[in-house]
Every structure is written in structure tokens, then in C-alpha cells.
Symmetry: none
Subunit: 151 residues, 2 copies
Amino acid sequence: MKFERHDAIRELVAHSLVTNQDELRRKLRRRGFAVTQATLSRDIHALRLSKGPSGYVLPSTDVGNGAAENDGPPSVAEVLASFGLRIRQAMNQVIVGTMMGGAQPVAAALDFEEWPEVLGTIAGDDTVLVICADPRRATEVEMRLRAMLES
Amino acid sequence: MKFERHDAIRELVAHSLVTNQDELRRKLRRRGFAVTQATLSRDIHALRLSKGPSGYVLPSTDVGNGAAENDGPPSVAEVLASFGLRIRQAMNQVIVGTMMGGAQPVAAALDFEEWPEVLGTIAGDDTVLVICADPRRATEVEMRLRAMLES
DNA sequence: TCACCATTTGCATACTTATTCATTTGTGTT
DNA sequence: AACACAAATGAATAAGTATGCAAATGGTGA
């Protein structure tokens, strides 16, 4: 019966090291379950097991982020148009001033677009700090952001 | 450079669904990393990623210690292993990218350890800015942090 | 600069896992 | 019992991953 075999698989995976499906097949056979690798592949899928550096493991009980595929947060241009107030540059940094509460959305949009010149962003309530590799790139980013703000 | 590619892989795996190594290869290529599946297999092993029903996932090193024996706050090494995604350096600064919500714990751990090279830290939601006295010290800090991330 | 050594990478291929298709098995109905 | 139908399984094979080995790359000291 399939469900008894599933129980046995859970137990084997929980209490012993199972490196691959053929090893699992042999261990199951010793317990009286004689099935092929194909069936085990299906069982593992059904049991939602993961395979990692230490063999197969049971699905983690933690809350796990059900994060799915977003089809797209708002663009930097959009969010800047909504919240942006001023752009300044100093050394390798660009400082974006926004309306209160606008910094987080602006930073999120910047993060999402992953501009090559941008190493990282930090957002407060109304200020976003954009960090670049060097002053030249910071200027480049400043220009681009400013163009969006002006548009 | 290998480490930058590792950073990119961690980020892709953390923020998007990666079903297999060829998909990862294509996503990396779009970011400028052109390598073969063989290299990615090695990277995945090095990064200790697991593959489960929802594609590859980062190793879950839950910092939530059920055991009580841990006196002080978690170390930088621990908290980086849990939340760290990428390390970059520019001028006298080091930018640490983390999973959402991970910046504060990382910064707190850094503050607590009081590294001599670190003048201060600023944390947003998923980015920590570490400020050093000069580029040399920033590189030193970057190396140290990166070693912890790769461990 | 050049030579040297260690690391990293790609290629080819071995190994492992998933899937298709046909068959068997189980179950309820007449 | 015989049938019909769905679920489960095996065999073959496609799809995906890991690895030995040689070549390329990169860092280091003479």
C-alpha cells in the first residue's frame, strides 16, 4: 500500500541519511517495500521532500515565505514622479529627498530595477541614500533620477 | 569573479524561483555572468543550497536558537549566515545586502562586536551601510564579512 | 615582465531524477 | 463473476546534476 510506504520513507529520511533514490529503494526493500526508482521519484514529490547537501530532508515546518512571482512593482520613474522632491549628490552617494513616507517605495523600486551603478540603497522616512561605486557613477545616477523627476 | 557570482546566485534564489541549473544559468547571463551548468553545480554545492518542491533554496540556518545556552546576542557570523546575501565595497564603505528584515540584526551584531575598522553602521530593511575610516579598512572588513558569508 | 603555482572553468560524460506510455492493480457496480 | 474506470506502477528514456581532466585564468615573487 502506498501510504505505508510513504510513512516508511518519512521515517527513513528523518532518522537516516538518504543520499539518492536508489539508496532509498534499497533501504525500503529491506523493510518489505519493493518498488522502482520511478515510484520513489513520485513519492518524494508527493511528500514534498527536499534534497540538500545532507541528502533528502522533510519539508521544513517553519513559516516559509510563500512569496510568489510578482508581475511587477511600480517603476522608479513612476514612484519618483509620485514622491520625489529633490536629488543631490556627494562623493559616491546620491541623496533622494521625498515626501514623508515616500522613501521606502522609491528605494524598493530602485532595488527592484537593479541598476548596475547602484550598490545599495537605504531608506528612512523621507530620504533615500543611494550608494554607488564611485563619484562618476553617482553623478550618472543623479542625472538619470533627475531626468525622471523633471519629466 | 566567483564571489560576485555567488552573491548574485544567493539573491536570485532568495528573490525568485529557480527551478533548475539551466534556468539559473540564463538568469545569471542576463546579469552579465556567463558560465556553464558545470560551474553552477559547483557553486550550488559551495553555497550549500537545497533543491525542493519550490526550486533551490538557501540553507535555513535558523538563528532562532531553541537552546538557551547562548548568552550574548548572536555573532556577526551567525546572523550573516542567516540573512546575508551580498557584500560590496565602495570607497570607505561596505554595503551588505540581506534578506528582507535582515539588515537590523546584522547591524546590531556588527555594532555589538565593535570592530576597530568600523566607525558606524546604518541599517534599512535589507541593506546595511558599514562606514570605515578609509578604503583600505573597508576592504579589510569586506574580506572578513565575505569569508563569513561563504563559510 | 616573465615564470610559476594555485584556482577556476569548460567539455565531455557518468550519475541521478523526472516523465511518458503502456500495463497492472484495486474498487465499485451490475 | 464480469465489467468499467481510476489509481498505481514499471520500463524506457528524457531531463537534470555532478565530476574527472585538461586548459585557461589570475595572482605572486623573482
